[in-house]
């Protein structure tokens, strides 16, 4: 039953990312809704669920992306993000809101940095400034959506 429940969540998240990201595209930058859902699930349900969720949603994305060049990278990145985000589960009682929020923002920034370092390595060698802009733009655009979501469902409160 639990497997079924999370399969549905993965499937719906994947569909949502596939159907809606195009409407929010800014040039070559897409918001990563899967990452936002992964963050919520990891912080809410812990490491096991977060890691598996990250792995499978990443696998779905790579299978659907069609490119062969970095196949397996998205599960790797999402798995890592899910795993490290899960350490924030229950930390709202120990950390104040600012530290808590800063931590999940840093996780997202790191996630995008690793992803960008691998995918845009050529850009990094040619123009580090362009690389920096690319990384920050991609990260901040997703963080913007995550930030908007905080007004409706704050991560700080779901972390129990």
């Amino acid at each position: 039953m639990i497997v079924f429940k999370y399969s549905i969540i993965i499937f719906v998240t994947f569909l949502f990312q596939m159907w809606t990201s195009e409407f929010f595209t800014l040039g070559t930058i897409d918001p990563d809704f899967c990452l936002i859902v992964l963050l919520y699930i990891s912080i809410r349900y812990g490491g096991l669920v977060g890691t598996l969720f990250g792995f499978f949603i990443g696998l779905f994305i790579d299978l659907s992306s069609g490119t062969n060049q970095f196949f397996g990278l998205t599960p790797l990145i999402y798995t890592t993000t899910g795993y490290f985000s899960s350490f924030l589960k229950g930390e709202n009682e120990r950390l104040n809101k600012l530290y808590f929020t800063s931590l999940w923002i840093i996780i997202i920034l790191c996630q995008f940095l690793i992803f960008s370092l691998i995918v845009y390595q050529q850009l990094l060698l040619e123009s580090p400034v362009q690389f920096l802009i690319k990384w920050l733009a991609t990260s901040l655009y997703t963080l913007l959506f995550a930030g908007i979501l905080q007004f409706m469902i704050p991560i700080y409160k779901i972390s129990r």
């Binding site: 569909l15 596939m18 159907w19 812990g46 490491g47 096991l48 890691t51 598996l52 990250g54 792995f55 990443g58 696998l59 790579d62 299978l63 659907s64 069609g66 062969n68 060049q69 970095f70 196949f71 397996g72 990278l73 599960p75 790797l76 798995t79 890592t80 795993y83 899960s86």
Partner: protein
């Protein structure tokens, strides 16, 4: 063994992370594997199936916009086409007029029809030349296809032309090659009748009808029309000839007025 199992359960998060990390690296390093390509082929079909509703919604969303754009484009192209066709037609007519003016030995001036009479008793045309262009009453008006009337009233910058289609219009004509002469008057539907033609003259369909030159208004040998029918009047020594007028009175725009016979 039990302790080992408990250890695994206690640290399941870390173990799962390690396993998924291992699997991810395996995928990354074996991405060019043939079996992987087969799996990706299946997944591609599945994703395209999932994408179908979105593609349909998007195509529906743009179809209205595209339809509107195509309607506008269609209208613009139709207007352009009409304009081009009109210009081509006008160009052809003007070339014909120019050619006629060059070849004729008559002293003619060009005129444009600015109005067509709406009176039922007199069929008339108004042209944009008058006394300022040496136009006088009773001057022949024609096109390269033939006579269309004569001036009846002349103003300074415009003149009224009695059309050949007026019931009171008469014209002395000669039918070639027989040379028979007669009086032409309008009948109906671009057809005139020539009366007072001798019965013993041989006239065939397709013969040319020209002005006879008996009139002071119309110089001789101006084209009038083509014979389209011949029949005898019972109990008479004359025959009646039907003549098809080559001018289309509905579409004439430019004419010539013979101001002086050279």
């Amino acid at each position: 063994m039990r302790n080992l199992l408990l250890f695994f359960i206690k640290n399941k998060d870390h173990f799962v992370f390690a396993i998924t990390l291992f699997l991810s690296f395996s995928l990354l390093f074996n991405r060019n594997n043939d079996e992987m390509s087969v799996i990706r082929g299946f997944s591609s079909d599945f994703v395209s199936f999932l994408s179908t509703p979105l593609v349909k919604v998007k195509s529906l969303a743009i179809v209205n916009e595209e339809n509107q754009y195509l309607r506008e484009k269609n209208l613009q192209l139709n207007l352009q086409l009409e304009s081009i066709l009109y210009a081509a037609d006008e160009n052809e007519k003007l070339r014909e007029l120019l050619d006629f003016k060059r070849k004729t030995r008559l002293n003619i001036i060009p005129a444009s029809i600015i109005n067509k009479g709406i009176q039922t008793n007199v069929k008339s045309l108004t042209v944009d030349v008058g006394t300022s262009s040496s136009v006088m009453p009773n001057q022949a008006v024609l096109t390269p296809h033939g006579v269309i009337g004569k001036t009846v009233q002349v103003g300074e910058k415009s003149s009224i032309v009695q059309s050949i289609s007026d019931n009171n219009f008469r014209l002395s004509v000669r039918i070639m090659p027989s040379g028979a002469v007669g009086i032409l008057r309008w009948s109906e539907n671009n057809t005139c009748k020539v009366y007072e033609v001798q019965k013993n003259v041989e006239i065939n369909i397709g013969d040319r009808v020209i002005t006879s030159g008996f009139s002071k208004i119309y110089p001789e040998k101006l084209p009038v029309g083509i014979v389209s029918g011949v029949y005898d009047e019972r109990g008479s020594y004359q025959k009646v000839v039907n003549v098809k007028i080559q001018n289309d009175f509905e579409s004439i725009q430019n004419v010539f007025i013979i101001v002086e016979n050279k």
